[in-house]
Amino acid sequence: MTETSYRIQGATGEWEVVIGLEVHAQVTSNAKLFSGAATAFGAEPNTQVSLVDAAMPGMLPVPNRECIRQAVRTGMAIDAQINKWSRFDRKNYFYADLPQGYQISQLYHPIVGEGQIEIVLDEKNPEASTKVIGVERIHVEQDAGKLMHDQHPTSSYVDLNRSGVALMEIVSKPDMRSPAEAGAYLSKLRTILRYVGSCDGNMDQGSMRADVNVSVRRPGEPFGTRTETKNVNSVRFVMAVVEHEASRQVDVLESGGTVVQETRLYDPDRNETRSMRSKEDAHDYRYFPDPDLLPLELDDAFLEECRQSLPELPDVKRKRYEQGLGLSAYNAATLTADADTARWFEALLAEGARIQKKSEGEVAKASANWLLSELYGALNRLGKSLEESPVSPEEGAELLALVADGTISGTIAKQVFEIMLETGERPAAIVEEKGLKQTSDTGAIEAAVADVLARNADKVAQYKGGKEALFGFFVGQTMKAMQGKANPQVVNELVKKGLA
């Protein structure tokens, strides 16, 4: 645990910022939380709407098991208290995107209680920069529909496709103290959700969005009045909101004003937050238990299934990569930051170990280095994601095996990889076809060395006169003459011998 010392330097002294996040994460499910309508993104307006979602008279909710299961699994993944008895409440307010006139949510008895998330502020130095952020609760609730204002001069249009889609609201404790911590928390939460598979984490599609609670105080003093900036949809924006809102509050306080507890909106174009017209009655939601639903009681078998189905989680995986596979802290962190990357890496590792008949630990370093430098470099250049990689983990493993068993050199491997990217051919076939196999034929190499030394008699003299740095030059020239296919170790030995 570390204390970060992020401070805002005001005109009257230092201020500390206090941050809490309420993250709404869309639960990955086929059907909605209380109806059998689909949840897919981007459908025609009002086509993914059942009569339940449109709140027709007499329609009733029945909960989707998968949404409950995903919330429980998420809770388990953050080491949280799972409440075997929870209940749905109605949050009553009137708005055009809320057909029932209430949102079914969980106020009094949420399904998941207190948990925690570890964030790392410096990936190169994880031990010294880890901080634990408390999670207050996770509850399950319905999403609202969508209002569109630009289609008609005097009307707003209502699309209920999202109405009733399951959300998890993940409420942190006010444990964060800097924009970086808020950003790291949101990234880490997203990583965990994607590992668990309970949310796809697509922030640009609105699958995850955060309400950012910010207040400032003099270090050591009680919490100040907070503002809540709604629906912030990227890690970068969350950090910007914290930064902006904290300095705005400091300005207000230092000029003798008071911070108003209110809801604000972030405008990414102007990078500022502004007050939402305070909704009348906004704070009287008249929560009460939904009488259309019974208390939700989870049995041990259900919980056990949830637990069994959890994958290895990022923190555990990261430690295993470091301690079990011997990777650097930075590489371990990078490879585990995203579930897809870790999955790709592990496939590469497994295949490499299989074909090289080695342990995963023995092939881990080379695999990690190749993935993070060669493959990532290529994907960056091509503007592709890992899922779209033209090279599969099996093909990558084959390439690395060719290097490991001395069939080709690292230099040649780079060439082969380029050809793989272009043609999609297997590395062994490319090596065969283009005759790229590295040679350990001492006769040919000896001849090449002799030739190089003969053509560079002056440099040989200099070398012998003490300019030992020229050794690399002779090796390089020999390799060049061998078109890179000579075994470097053998070249080294023979050059040494030739110069002796």
Binding site: S29, N30, A31, S35, G36, A37, A38, E44, P45, N46, T47, Q48, V49, S50, L51, V52, A54, V62, P63, N64, R65, E66, C67, I68, R87, F94, A96, L147, M148, H149, Q151, H152, P153, T154, S155, S156, Y157, V158, D159, L160, M276, R277, E280, D281, D284, R286, P289, L293, L294, P295, L296, E297
Partner: protein, 95 residues
């Protein structure tokens, strides 16, 4: 507790029911009468009593995660006072 005109207007606003001043004034004694009567519940000793959650013992069942509904836009919009281009339409909302 007795409620005044101001409270009646606030409840009407929370309920989204517009009331004239005269209507609101007429409701003051009416609602007070009813609320005064229900307040006798306060005299019941409920120490250690849990609020009722299910009238008849019953378990909340859970649905399988299968798409069984939707694709009924015509039905959804059939009774709408104003529907355009597949949307419900409402007076313009300024956010």
């Amino acid at each position: 507790m007795s409620i005044d005109l101001q409270t009646v207007k606030k409840i009407a606003s929370l309920s989204r029911i517009s009331v004239t001043d005269a209507e609101a004034e007429a409701m003051v004694p009416e609602l007070n009468n009813i609320l005064g009567w229900v307040e006798q519940l306060g005299e019941v000793d409920v120490t250690g009593v849990q609020p009722m959650t299910a009238v008849i013992p019953n378990q909340q069942r859970l649905r399988d995660d299968v798409v069984t509904d939707g694709n009924v836009r015509d039905k959804v919009l059939a009774n709408a006072p104003q529907a355009e281009h597949g949307f419900f339409a409402v007076p313009k909302v300024i956010e």
